[in-house]
């Protein structure tokens, strides 16, 4: 459809990007057991108060839900907040309304990754991406490889600073020098391939 006058954005209307993000967010939130509890948020701020890292966030967990209601998911996704979350679930267990804050933040992380809304050398994305690469190729994670891949992507100089720790761990037999693969890698790849296909299937609305 070409952009005609009728598509102009009027006050209260969503732009196309926001509409898409919103739809995909709402769809994913339904997958979380209890995910729809987001509607019950009373903006009390208990999540922010209990969060051990909220002091370093640019928008607080409470503000995430406020921004979602104000129809501004774009701002949430470009924030540093969703990546600072260490997934400790303090907010989730303390929320008086039962809002699954941590799971909501997971959904937002996935949305940001899908839409590539973050800086290029972004640390958390670099780490997630390296991790996923190792799991896809070995069926297992490989700690030293993961850290090397991560620092090469972000700041190779920091790798030098890690050498003393690597050596100490190696001395105590806590580092494997060669990555191990799972035995039935072929089957694992088959499952992954099919999983990638079903990932993108959007089921019809259940009645």
């Amino acid at each position: 459809m070409t952009k005609g006058k009728a598509d102009q954005i009027l006050p209260g209307m969503l732009n196309e990007k926001e509409r898409e993000l919103r739809n995909s967010f709402l769809l994913q939130i339904k997958n979380i057991p209890g995910g729809e509890s987001i509607k019950k948020c009373i903006q009390c701020g208990t999540c922010t108060a209990t969060c051990p890292v909220s002091y370093t966030m640019d928008i607080t967990p409470r503000e995430i839900i406020a921004l979602f209601r104000a129809k501004d998911i774009d701002t949430i996704l470009s924030s540093r907040t969703i990546w600072i979350c260490a997934s400790c679930y303090s907010c989730t267990v303390r929320c008086p309304q039962g809002v699954k804050v941590t799971d909501i933040i997971y959904t937002l992380k996935r949305l940001a990754i899908e839409n590539e809304i973050f800086p290029k050398k972004f640390p958390v994305y670099a780490l997630s991406n390296s991790f996923v690469w190792f799991v896809n190729h070995l069926g297992l994670s490989y700690e030293p490889g993961l850290l090397v891949a991560y620092y090469l992507r972000t700041n190779p100089f920091k790798l030098l600073g890690m050498i003393p720790l690597f050596l100490k761990l190696a001395k105590n037999g806590r580092i494997g020098f060669f990555p191990r693969k799972i035995k039935n890698k072929k089957n694992f790849s088959k499952i992954l391939k099919e999983a990638e296909i079903v990932e993108n299937i959007i089921p019809m609305q259940e009645s």
Binding site: V53, C88, Y142, L192
Partner: protein
Amino acid sequence: MNYSYYPGCSLEASAKGYDESVKYVFSKLGHELIEIDDWNCCGATYYMATKETISLVISARNLAIAEKKGLDIIAPCSSCYTILYKTNHILKNNRILREKVNQALRKVGLEYHLNVEVRHPLEVLVNDVGIETIASKAKKSLGGLKIAQYYGCQIVRPERGLDDKDDPQMMDNLCKALGAENVYFPMKTQCCGGMLMTTYPDVGLGLNKKLLECAKENGADIIITTCPLCQINLEAYQNKINKKFKTDIKIPVLFFTQIVGYALGGTPRELGLQRSLIPFDPEKISREELR
């Protein structure tokens, strides 16, 4: 009783001492751990943060393989435990995701029928084996060793009704029954930052400094934990923390099974104690015992 055992990637490398001591403790108590055949990585928080269905599929592959044996799964790594538990919980509650996951698993003749429970060894030791039984089988007393029990986030949260989410007592009671002295440690469930230590070191170092200082101020000889990531964060970065915050912290950080295993008569080598970066000499305990 037998259990399916899911070691996870960390227990093969940086947390090898955890693997060795879990196996030691369970065999001493007469329970067999049967490793899940050709298990794969649970996907951890990173896969969960990247692709939802795929992360559930790779995690469910382990559940489906374990289901064939019909035993509960024991996952010592707190992160593996949470991810496997969460996958199980989501699949039990969401028919669509369950269908999607099984469609992928069926490609290689697997299918998951929701008949597995995912459990943490701490909870199994306390609930199935029982603290009294463990204490009665102890060969050595912990001799008043001052311990700070650090539970971290993932085993008490999100709520599973296992223990109190702010002031859990499972490890405390276990240590007390084995003769240790529990120090006041109000930060027992505060977050260590997990991978923030790598992605945002300033934030991670700050969180760990608070935890270590709290244990030190309350007179702990050692900290024990249930999680490989908490263990390495607390143990390996003490030098960096001392440099950055001008503190003077040097406190061994062990896995809870290493302490339980020691009480059950394990030698330091059987329990992987020689792998600690900050050496811990269990003989110190025995000497105190003589008093």
